[in-house]
């Protein structure tokens, strides 16, 4: 379907909803094509290819809301979707804060955001399989201890996002990405470990060389071999970037406008207060061209923007959609995010912790006895209280050097103290997704082991 056709379909849905009694309406349409090739032990394991599209509708009748979605975009399917949403509004409660953004809040940022690369849709299947195979072979040839693999995959996705509302907003944008991932298995005696490495970009030109991805994945698996469990003690903990990122996921949950108005977050009510070390600045920026968290407008039709969340340790802003902003007596930060149906939730753009001045080696070098974390397991983070307890895998630091592999241990603390306890920040910030952080050192956490 041509782009104009889908945009017309969306505005047509809005018109139908209004004709059926809606006082306001929002319609989302998504369309996408996915491809995935998996190679394992040099042979093709699977190839998957398909396209799909679906529409979602949210309507208001006064201050009541109803919503529905369908993958049936026929006239009959659309009519059914509109009817469902209107009927459902009758059973919800009047909510004084429900509503669309004000007309003056709507809009989109201009300029080429470089979210779509033509070449992604044109890559040949054979070439994609070959790239995955090259990455896996590089991993397998890194070391004789890499004798097995959980495979390599090459994935691509192209999509189109359409949004329209009854206040006159109508917008659409296309996105693309491709990614290459490898997951080798290292074995030595009775020790067997798996790790992975990957590269992703909006277009194939942005991908790192497959051999490099394969070798890094292999080295990551190898360094986990013969891991031991250490004694329980309180030590400094260094997070490598791949896991430091998860701390920003936690910060995001804590500054999530919905959690804040419900007082479901340890950062609720802390605006203007010191919540992290003075060296810590956290920014959410959905306007950086080419990155994975970038978009011209959010899922309520509000222009994307840059929001300073934490500046030099002081909490500056929550991340909000219109609803959370109204509840908190503030303005939306353009962070509305939604699936096809239901009320808008909250998402982040490119959320990152600003880089510091030290190299990862300098940070590791500053630790006499401590843990370098390379992987975290489990969901042991309580955003209400900040209590933090997760399974960890990594390397033990002794006298400033990575000494030996450790596993089957936990790291525990409380996010409030952990954020205030960030003692060093690396210079190694890079975006491998929409959340990014450099190497981080936290002064003290409890490592649970023997």
């Amino acid at each position: 379907m041509s782009e104009n056709h889908l945009l017309e379909l969306a505005t047509g849905v809005i018109d139908r909803a209004r004709a059926a009694g809606a006082t306001d309406a929002e319609c989302t349409i998504t369309e996408g094509d996915e491809f995935s090739a998996n190679v394992r032990m040099r042979e093709v394991e699977s190839v998957k290819e398909a396209g799909s599209r679906a529409a979602g509708l949210r309507i208001l009748i006064g201050k009541r809301t109803g919503s529905s979605y369908t993958s049936d975009l026929s006239a009959e399917g659309i009519a059914h979707m509109v009817k469902s949403a209107v009927e459902l509004a009758a059973i919800t409660t009047e909510d004084p804060h429900a509503g669309l953004p004000e007309t003056e809040e709507l809009g989109k940022i201009s300029g080429d955001l470089r979210l779509y690369c033509e070449d992604v849709a044109q890559l040949e299947t054979a070439g994609k399989i070959e790239t995955a195979r090259r990455a896996e072979i590089a991993a397998l040839e890194t070391d004789p201890r890499i004798g097995n693999s959980d495979g390599a995959s090459f994935d691509t996705h192209t999509g189109r996002q359409i949004f329209a509302n009854s206040r006159g907003f109508a917008g659409e944008y296309r996105t693309s990405y491709c990614s290459l991932a490898v997951s080798p298995v290292a074995k030595q005696g009775s020790s067997m470990e798996r790790d992975y490495w990957y590269t992703m970009a909006r277009g194939s030109a942005g991908l790192e060389p497959p051999e490099q991805v394969g070798r890094i994945a292999a080295q990551r698996a190898l360094r986990r071999l013969n891991a031991v469990k250490v004694e329980t003690k309180k030590v400094p903990v260094v997070f490598e970037p791949r896991v430091a990122r998860s701390l920003l996921d936690n910060v995001f949950e804590a500054v999530h406008g919905m959690s804040v108005y419900r007082q479901e977050s340890f950062l609720a009510g802390k605006l203007g207060e010191r919540v992290a070390g003075e060296n810590v600045t956290v920014i959410d920026d959905a306007t950086i061209p080419g990155l994975f968290g970038t978009s011209p407008f959010d899922d309520e039709g509000v222009p994307s923007r840059r929001t300073v969340v934490i500046e030099k340790g002081v909490l500056k802003s929550y991340l909000m959609n219109c609803y959370a902003a109204r509840k908190l007596g503030m303005k939306t930060t353009g962070n509305a995010a939604r699936g096809l149906a239901g009320n808008a939730g909250i998402g982040h753009g490119n959320l990152f912790l600003e880089k510091g001045g030290q190299t990862p080696e300098q940070i590791i070098g500053s630790v006499a006895d401590g843990l370098y974390v390379t992987e975290l397991l489990g969901h042991g983070v309580n955003i209400v209280t900040g209590d933090y307890s997760r399974g960890a895998v990594g390397l033990w630091i002794r006298n400033g050097e990575l000494a030996f592999a450790v596993s089957e241990i936990t790291i525990a603390g409380n996010l409030k103290e952990m954020l205030l306890g960030i003692e060093a920040i690396g210079s190694d910030l890079e975006f491998r997704g929409s959340v990014a952080a450099p190497t981080l050192k936290i002064g003290e956490m409890t490592v649970g082991g023997r």
Partner: protein, 476 residues
């Protein structure tokens, strides 16, 4: 249900001849096997926050997935449009995985065997919304009435009705109608001026709406969530390090799901990337442990009349008296391992390739009185409830997070402790099981299992269990 009465025949006018034609298209380049998975899914959900029903949603999605297996290779394509030309196009895309002369599928599809585990006459999704809206309002009122320290309640109710049809090139045609419903209540409580604590409870199954009126009511889930939040107000720091851990019955069975379940899925073992690879017949747990995965329990969340490859589910013994007995097999792995499918081939939707998954995973009851188990522990941790878990199937290390636990001191339950993760190693952890209670309980029906980006509903269960050594990730 006969094919001719199914939604696929009546509403979409699909005939047996069509199915045979699509299978022939799928095998047009050779290939050893092909199947079609048709899905028509209706969903509804209601959510309440601040005593207001803020959201009510209904949706429809449908599609067909076409799979072709050629040796160890899988080709997969899907369409969300059930028009014949779109399905044939998907079949020809999936066919490309094979390279050879076309093959003929078996003609004359026969309807396959299936259980009747959820003979639900009217699925919750097919009822009027009014009754379901009452559930979240009742939960809200009950949670607030439980204790004056409760200050926030979120209640949600969601159900779906999935119509599926699987047709295979081996000539088997299977139909199923799979209802599923679940409700959840989240409560925040605080002492005056103090920090909040959270409690959560939820459950459901492949049940009629009556289940929430008679068996597990909104008031039940609300009271359970509120109780947990109130208990946590007195929580002290959790201990850190190795200690004796006692798991309470029911949902803590997530231990089995993470510690052994995933590691016994046949795909990982076929590729020899699981810590349990090549260990059939070996001792991997204390002899008190017998672990079962059973997809045939009536009305359970993890149960299925047939798996998503059209194979009837069954009761599979994974570990018997401590000895590893078998893996969970799907079509591809069982063919390559020259074994039989165990009815464990599952997928999230028509857009996903099936793989071996768990259904309801539990440990058989033992002999011990649960109170006697607690009395036998001089110092340790009692875990009554959990959040989620995760496993690294290659190293075997697994984690699960305790959401409600208590210190055990001199054989008695002491203070509640704050949230902590527990970590262990799959093939080792259950060797330290020294007592198994006589109180096997299955969870209330809220489990979601994720694997390689696909989520499916599952169940777990466990009797009270004493594990002599496990690492607890607290701070004290």
């Amino acid at each position: 249900m006969a094919f001719s009465e199914s939604i696929f025949a009546t509403r979409f006018q699909i005939t047996r001849g069509d199915l045979e034609r699509y299978l022939a298209d799928a095998l047009c380049q050779g290939g050893d096997y092909a199947d079609l998975y048709f899905e028509y899914l209706l969903t509804s959900s209601i959510s309440l926050d601040e005593s207001m029903v803020k959201s009510a949603t209904q949706g429809v999605s449908m599609g067909v997935g076409v799979r072709v297996i050629a040796g160890e290779r899988t080709g997969y394509a899907y369409s969300d449009d059930l028009a014949p030309d779109k399905i044939r196009k998907a079949a020809r895309v999936a066919a490309c995985i094979a390279a050879g002369p076309g093959k003929q599928g078996k003609f004359g599809l026969n309807e396959g065997r299936r259980h009747n585990l959820y003979p639900v006459m009217i699925a919750p999704t097919e009822t009027e919304f009014a009754e379901r809206v009452e559930f979240v309002k009742r939960a809200d009122r009950a949670a607030r009435a439980y204790d004056s320290r409760v200050f926030q309640v979120q209640a949600s109710y969601a159900d779906n009705l999935r119509h599926v049809m699987v047709a295979t090139s081996e000539g088997v045609l299977t139909l199923d109608r799979q209802p599923l419903a679940r409700m959840g209540v989240m409560v925040l409580a605080r002492n005056k001026g103090g920090p909040p604590q959270r409690g959560y409870a939820g459950g459901g199954g492949r049940v009629e709406l009556d289940f929430f009126q008679k068996e597990k009511t909104p008031e039940h889930f609300a009271a359970e969530a509120a109780r947990e939040a109130i208990v946590m107000l007195d929580a002290v720091e959790a201990p850190a390090g190795e200690m004796t851990v006692v798991l309470g019955p029911g949902w803590p069975g997530i231990l089995l799901h993470e510690a052994v379940g995933h590691g016994l899925e046949a795909d990982f073992n076929r590729k020899k990337v699981s810590a349990f690879s090549d260990r059939i017949g070996q001792k991997v747990a204390s002899e008190l442990c017998t672990v079962i995965d059973d997809g045939t329990i009536n009305n359970r969340r993890g149960s299925l009349n047939v798996d998503d490859e059209g194979h009837p589910t069954q009761r599979n013994v994974l570990i018997e008296n401590g000895v590893l007995r078998g893996y969970l097999q799907d079509k591809l792995s069982s063919t390559l391992l020259r074994s039989q499918s165990t009815g464990s081939g599952r997928r999230e939707s028509y857009a996903h390739i099936p793989m071996p998954r768990m259904t309801n995973t539990f440990m058989l009851a033992g002999q011990s009185d649960p109170e006697e188990i607690i009395r036998s522990v001089p110092k340790g941790l009692y875990c009554a409830n959990f959040g989620g878990g995760q496993v690294d199937i290659t190293s075997g290390n697994f984690v699960f997070s305790a959401s409600e636990s208590y210190l055990i001191e001199n054989g008695k339950l002491g203070r509640p402790v704050r949230n902590a993760s527990l970590i262990g190693n799959g093939p080792e952890a259950l060797k330290y099981v020294s007592m198994v209670g006589n109180d096997l309980r299955l969870d209330e029906g809220m489990g979601i299992c994720g694997k390689e980006g696909q989520s499916v509903p599952v169940g777990v269960g466990i009797p009270t269990l004493k594990i002599d050594r496990m690492t607890v990730g607290g701070t004290a």
